[in-house]
Subunit: 602 residues, 2 copies
């Protein structure tokens, strides 16, 4: 059993619970079949297990450090990423015309996810480079593409995203970095960027920063932001590495987790000209950036799931083999101890992890399949609908795992007890790694406001209606199956409650009050969405059991486990969504009304 | 404002919400008045802020390490603990006849708590030494007491608790360490102990281990365990340090948090005789140990609260001063940013932390007051009732903060965003430190089984009845106040649900099924208990507001904040207890029925 991948579950999600076959049948991807996808995932798993996993604990213990004027990263990071590049993983999702494999996003997200389960500290370099290259491929001029894409897709140059500044994290309106137009697309960049993952390192010849900055001729706020390509080293006309572009490393941030990835404070143009090249249109920077951010958000959600998966697999393995205690019915201390998986509470903690991990992965895959279906469809109306659904679910795909898969990591520590609290096992590292995911790529609060303040209002609520229709199909199938009456009723009631809460918020003209509990709304919305995806998995499993006719053996166990996890989710997890919706529906203002002075009385 | 102490709240809890005055009026403690207690806490706060706090981040970053045959601990740890010893903090709770101050446990737990808020890595040395000395004072012979107590209470020797072994953590039945009787109380000890906090270090001349071991003449299981005093260095007849007692440090555990405290694997008697001295009666070791463990559990719960308090105060300070974003009503990016405390979701996260911290502290103080009232009462029946209530609430006092104050620490990171995820702020350290508290001194599962399997059955359920009577007094007072109708109703309904769930579990003859959801029962029981203590605080605050007649100013803010936090708890937190009780009431067997093979299907 791999400590980072559960392929049986992946295949089930793609081909039984969801309809990945339809994506593979569509023109952009029709060159691939199931065996091709399996071969890709096999090779990724090999790289992850051989190159990423063995150094994960070491990289966590020994962060990249500043030495002799440069950041020193463990050489194993370079080797691991070279293996990825050699296997074509940087370019896997790109079009054939730029040398890519044009694999569906469902596969490329899994590629990075498998790497992340092994060692997220390394996987981030690939994730950000691909995201930056993606933006370049979409908005770049032919010249920009020809200069930057080949070395990035070959993994010779890495990329970054430079949005935040010390005084502007969640509030992008307040970005101050300046871009002074020089000639054509050429600008002089000055300013300071904070929290730049992979912002500096000694892994590649060059680093291509995607920088949000403000031209003097733009309006204030986010509408005055433009996007710039700012390489660490300028390029000679032939594309080779030129002189230093005056991007100074002002500091390394020392994080709680994801410590293998450098995270930097960067000064642009402090001691000399720093040149940047406008990407896309002036003052359209945020629009371009969102093209990347939305996909990155799904990727972050998926990686949060994968951190929890790695923790779950470790906890499960431990629980099966660690003897401790006896059945409550057996008071004879001379009999052998039993494996802890035989204790009800350990099973509960493992079921909770399974529900979070496999529910979260279903959510991620459902969203990436939307992206792939959008790419595959030729029907304009269908594309619009799929896009609306994707926009609606993106905040969920990012934030639900960040909350609930972190909880899963907490439980995997608990299963191991004292051992789980030590650095001898990976579970505490995954927990620390995962804690970042509720913060970066938009905090939970930002996504709550996005969902309740914007997404549910889109197209007069049509996105919500589309989701309800999708869920309705699963409810119909579950009713036809006959074994899920309780789940169908519970989902129906939860959806009705969600509808009431949504209408109450939309009807409230005081925006602050309407969204005062938006983060809780986001959580409840996610719980209901994942409950639906669990029911969808359970129906698929029930169908498979009926088809196979087997009541024992690995396949029967697998499908029965799916049904049990679905029931667990509906009985143990979904009920917690309802009080949250009650607060939203009542427009509760307990938090809004609390004054700063009342917290301490001083 | 102190970063670790909120004295206004402490005073409110002790003298307004609870009745600490009555304890101070009773004979054992009547030499003390409010001013004396304040002076003690003042001096502790000074030591904590001056000696514990400044090195907290450093100790976390640089763990004690093994070097030249010994564990090296940062010298600042010794200085900080010497300051405690000089201030009489090791002996603070002990009787005058052994040189103690005979302060109430309510005060001694706060003493260690304040130290823990500053730097739990150091505070643990004091906590364990006091706990070991306490056991010695209770069960030791006059000779044992005269040999060991003076140097321990002077802080010259430290103590430990040696229960766990590599193969026996939660299952104390399986302890294998052997004690071979030699003469009188003298035994030869052989075996291996795991997870020994403060198990070795270079801080003191000697270390006094309290070791659970098995004599050859005892029955199997916990009934065959005896307790031994096993010093690192044997004592000469005059009490001075004699030869090494053959306790070998076999390894240091490297933990996720609480890294300033050494945690050891110890081999007893591996390379020569290791002598131990029976403490108390043979085969009564666990009973003796529980005397200590019950108080230690309340202390662990209190320190979990204090870790969350330190995080909350940091988050609150940050939220008041960090500008980010604007009101949702203001789209003008040229206006100044507002402090993040003005965002509804930040207030929610701060209220959640306040509710956890001040609710948890009320719970701790209520329990230590029970201990003090037991010590103060001369009425046998009252002592019995108070003891039952204490036994019932001990698993709650330990486990509720371990869960909910950890959640508070998670939110304090969230308030700080990216900064909170770095080691430049203490919030991530407190989060890591607090993660241990659900594991040591009995896991959540152990306490759940203790509560539902044992405690609620005590004296035919009379302990539960006593708690309901206590809660009833608060409900009466709240009804009389008139402003808490919703809270009174909600608490009433929750208690009724708790009663139904309890009866259902007690009526089930299949122990495994009855307790399959015991950990969730524990959580729900805790939520209801803390809801009650919040209502009690709110009633006291309402009374104070009516008395003072002021509607503004620090005192009015403080009391209004208490009422708001109570309402928050009832609206946002308590509702989550009800689905948990439903699972217990229905004797849900979803987790119990899950087979090991169903988790993965392989």
């Amino acid at each position: 059993m791999s400590p980072i991948v559960h392929r049986r579950n992946l295949d089930f999600l793609l081909y039984e619970a969801l309809d990945f076959d339809a994506v593979l049948a569509a023109p952009p991807f029709a060159t691939y079949d199931r065996a091709d996808i399996a071969a890709v995932l096999d090779s990724v798993q090999t790289i992850a297990e051989e190159q990423f996993l063995p150094c994960a604990a070491d990289l966590d213990a020994h962060e990249p450090h500043f030495c002799d004027g440069a950041v020193r990263v463990d050489p194993r990071v370079r080797r691991a990423l070279t293996a990825c590049a050699d296997a074509g993983l940087f370019s896997a999702g790109f079009d054939h015309d730029v040398g890519g494999l044009r694999l569906p996003m469902t596969v490329t997200v899994l590629i990075n996810g498998i790497l992340a389960a092994a060692n997220i500290g390394i996987a981030n370099y690939q994730l950000l480079t691909v995201a930056a290259a993606n933006m370049l491929a979409t908005f770049g001029t032919d010249e920009q593409k020809s200069l930057y894409l080949p070395p990035m897709l070959a993994g010779r140059w890495f990329g970054t995203m430079c949005l935040s500044e010390p005084q502007a994290g969640s509030s992008l309106s307040d970005i101050r970095t300046r871009a002074e137009p020089l000639e054509g697309r050429l600008h002089r960049i000055t300013g300071t960027k904070m929290w730049i993952s992979c912002g500096d390192h000694d892994l590649t010849e060059n680093i291509v920063h995607m920088v949000l900055a403000r031209r003097p001729d733009g309006p204030p706020g986010v509408k005055g932001l433009s996007l710039f390509i700012v390489p660490k080293y300028r390029l000679n006309p032939d594309g080779t590495q030129g002189p230093f572009n005056n991007i100074a490393l002002a500091g390394l941030n020392h994080k709680m987790g994801q410590r293998g990835t450098t995270n930097c404070l960067l000064n642009f143009g402090e001691d000399g000209d720093c040149l940047g090249y406008l990407l896309g249109e002036a003052h359209q920077g945020l629009t371009c950036m969102f093209h990347m951010m939305n996909e990155a958000r799904i990727g972050v959600g998926a990686n949060s799931v994968m951190s929890a998966l790695a923790g779950y697999l470790c906890a499960l393995d431990y629980a099966r083999t660690r003897p401790q205690g006896r059945s409550l019915r057996n008071k004879d201390a001379t009999t052998p101890q039993i494996p802890i998986i035989d204790h009800a509470d350990v099973r509960r903690m493992l079921l909770a992890q399974k529900a979070a991990v496999e529910g979260g992965l279903a959510l991620s895959c459902y969203c990436t399949l939307l992206v792939d279906r959008i790419a595959a469809t030729v029907d304009e109306g269908q594309r619009r609908d799929l896009s609306l659904l994707l926009e609606l679910l993106t905040p969920i795909a990012k934030s639900w795992p960040a909350e609930h898969c972190l909880e899963a990591n907490k439980l995997s520590i608990q299963v191991l007890g004292g051992y789980g609290y030590t650095r001898d096992f990976p579970v505490e590292r995954h927990y620390r790694d995962n804690r970042l995911n509720a913060i970066h790529e938009g905090t939970q609060a930002i996504h709550g406001l996005d969902l309740l303040g914007r997404k549910v209002r889109m197209a007069d609520g049509w996105a919500m209606d589309l989701l309800v229709l999708e869920i309705g199909q699963t409810q119909d199938a579950a009713e036809a199956d006959g074994s899920f009456a309780a789940e169908v009723d519970a989902l129906h009631a939860a959806l009705a409650h969600l509808g009431r809460a949504t209408r109450a918020a939309l009807a409230c003209t005081d925006t602050e009050r309407a969204t005062a509990n938006a983060t809780l709304y986001l959580d409840a919305f996610g719980q209901i969405t994942v409950a639906w995806l669990w029911l969808r998995q359970a129906v698929a499993a029930s169908r498979a059991l009926a088809r196979d006719g087997a009541s024992s053996g690995p396949d029967a166990d697998f499908y029965q486990g799916k049904i049990a996890a679905c029931r667990y989710f509906f009985r143990y997890e979904l009920p917690h969504a309802l009080p949250l919706l009650g607060l939203v529906e009542r427009l509760d203002r307990t938090c809004l009304d609390m004054t700063p002075a009342q917290f301490l009385g001083c």
